[in-house]
């Protein structure tokens, strides 16, 4: 299954599941990253990390390691 961190800039996806074993996961879900929600990778910072995504109509940044927790529907 594709991870959020594997999207190409400009590409969209739909969240399938989030690995809840990490503390970061709760935070991501509070910010609106729940299963079924659409995400778009808008860009990356100069050194390739963190990522800038669009979700629920706003922009959120998160590190690659956190984006790894998010699985997308294929």
């Amino acid at each position: 299954m594709l991870k959020l961190s594997e999207l190409v800039v400009g590409e969209q996806g739909v969240i399938a599941s989030i690995d809840c074993s990490s503390v970061a996961a709760t935070r991501l879900m509070e910010m609106g990253m729940t299963p079924g929600c659409q995400v778009k990778l808008v860009g990356t910072a100069p050194f390739g990390d963190p990522l800038e995504i669009e979700i629920r109509g706003y922009r959120l940044s998160l590190r690659r390691s956190e984006a790894d927790l998010v699985k997308l529907e294929s």
Partner: protein, 738 residues
Amino acid sequence: MSVDAPARTLNVALVGNPNTGKSTLFHALSGVRQKTGNYPGVTVEKKHGSFTYQGQKVTLIDLPGTYSLAPRSPDEMVTVDVLLGRQANEAKPNAVLVIVDASNLERNLYIVSQVKELGLPMIVALNMVDIAQEKGISIDGAKLQERLEIPVVPTQANRRGGMDRLRETIVSLSGQESIEPQSPFPEEFREKVAQLNAKLQAQTPDAPRYLAERLLLDTSGYLETELLHGGHELHNWIVETRNQLAEIGQPVPAIEAISRYQWVQQSLDGIVTRETSRKVSWSDRFDQILTDKIAGTIFFILVMSLMFMAVFSNYSAGIFMGLIEDGFELLANGVNAVLPDGALKSLLTDGVIAGVGGVLVFLPQICILFFFIAILEDCGYLARAAYLMDKLFSKVGLSGKSFIPLLSSFACAIPGIMAARVIENRRDRLITILVAPLMSCSARMPVYVLLTGAFIPDEALLGFFPLQVLVMLSMYLLGILAAVGVAFILRKTILPGETPPFVMELPTYKLPSITGVFWVVVEKGWAFVKRAGTLIFAMTVIIWALSYFPRNESGVEAPFADEIAQLKQQRTGADEQQAEQIDNRLAEIQNEIDGELLRNSFLGMAGHWIEPVVKPLGWDWKIGSAAIASFPAREVIISTMGVLYNLGGEEDEESESLKDTIKNAKWHQSEENVFNIPVALSIMVFFALCAQCAATLAVIKRETNSWRWPIFTFSYMTVLAYLGALVTYQVSAFFLLS
């Protein structure tokens, strides 16, 4: 409401996500009548404001911006405790005002859903309607109010729009005690919460239902330690229940986000309409450029350079600093003229005015820096700066959020340390606070300027790079490198742990609000003034006393008594030229007496006492004394050296005579110069790394709520400064003096 009953005050708590204009709304509602303070035990700021509308007095409590009411640390717990009326010294709110960003309703209603479970009367302020419109979003406010079953008031806080209606709605809640709490969770989950609530009530009777729910949801373990105090029975029950819930497809904690966002979607269904093809807003276009790898980085460097130029330029901060200096000089002259010579005069002029003035002189720089930071924050750029810098900071185990606090520390560590509040992770914030004083603040400038000016040759390296500039720059660089190293070591040793998540909203760009920026500058400036007025004041009085007592004036004056009497006699019949010569000699004698008095003072004794310790740094006892005296604030070293080398106290870094005198100062009973390049370098390195700033240590105490961290900061920085100065002196002496 009966007419004769005295209207009781309505307490309203303000809650909302960051970047929703919450502070602006708070100021718009309450005007200037507000009080800022801290809750004891945590670093959460408490802000109170009030207004009266139609005879009803309303007190507002502004709570920190947050995305969720899920406490995972003592700081987050305060917000929940205030709302539940569990916070000591804080009246239970009669109502909650939730500020939501109209252009970002989906995420903002999440916290509305949480507040609805508290059972308090509430109002939703639908803020930034204008930005939503620009984004092509239209909201049916009336329908939203119907669906949420709570009053919804559209506002534009930055233009004070909708304030009267909001005030009216708040006042209309007077007398309403509670609402029926509403939970979006599935039936099975609510049953479990009810069971847990009953068990919790048996143990802690005053624990509200909301906390029982949180206890079940919070897998971080924080609430368990907080509420159960290590009780095993309930813990086992909770673990067992979570397993059961997971089996029926309601895994904790995911169930919360899923349930609440489902409720949000239902609530907004058909109410919010977006233009079918989402417009590429100007904010999106800005973002494309400003977070671009190359263009974004160039812009970032430009903005930072501009900010620093404004802070350190003679044409902006410099003008005001000059005015403040002149003001204090005037004040000192006034006191000098009015009071007779003696302890009181010395205390006022050399102690209080010099000490407090020496710190207050940095106020313009601090205000200008915060003016810039407030504008950048308000328009949404600061989050991008943290985003751009995150990778770099993560190398030393911090996050991009440490960037602003450390940047502010270049002007002064005090606002820098206060700015560290934006970092939610306690460990990250602590490390940032502990290394912030290593950034070369403006108080180090005079020390660098004096010593480079006096000892570093005015030559250019490789024909174009001025050596003096290079030395100054290396001092700034030294501080940064030391901070990087210390942060890395702290992370690996006493403050280990997982890397905290970096999940940060990148808000929509918007025009900054003038009043918002104004208030930030006023609040930060005032916090700084208060600190200078209290702690620095106390410290300077102590240091002054150490340098003034014990005082054997007649003993010190005795050897000069004859000469003074003679000079005074000659002066009566002298012509102008002779009189000037005599006055000069008298001043010289006075400086010598002052110097001798200081040398015999407790401070002088301490200097002699530590001479063996500072000798390996190339220092004589006078530099040692000056270093001790500069404990309240680094820049004090210059005036202290002025006195110790018999020049009088009114020396500044540009004083030619101080430069000349220290150049010619000799070791006791020898012809060897005290000062040379290695000594100058070792003093500069010492002051670049040491914690000679009582106000900073006091702020660390306040922000960490423990004496442990200021003591730690002072100790590690002093050791670092000593070792740095030692290596600098020994190495440079080896190359330059041999």
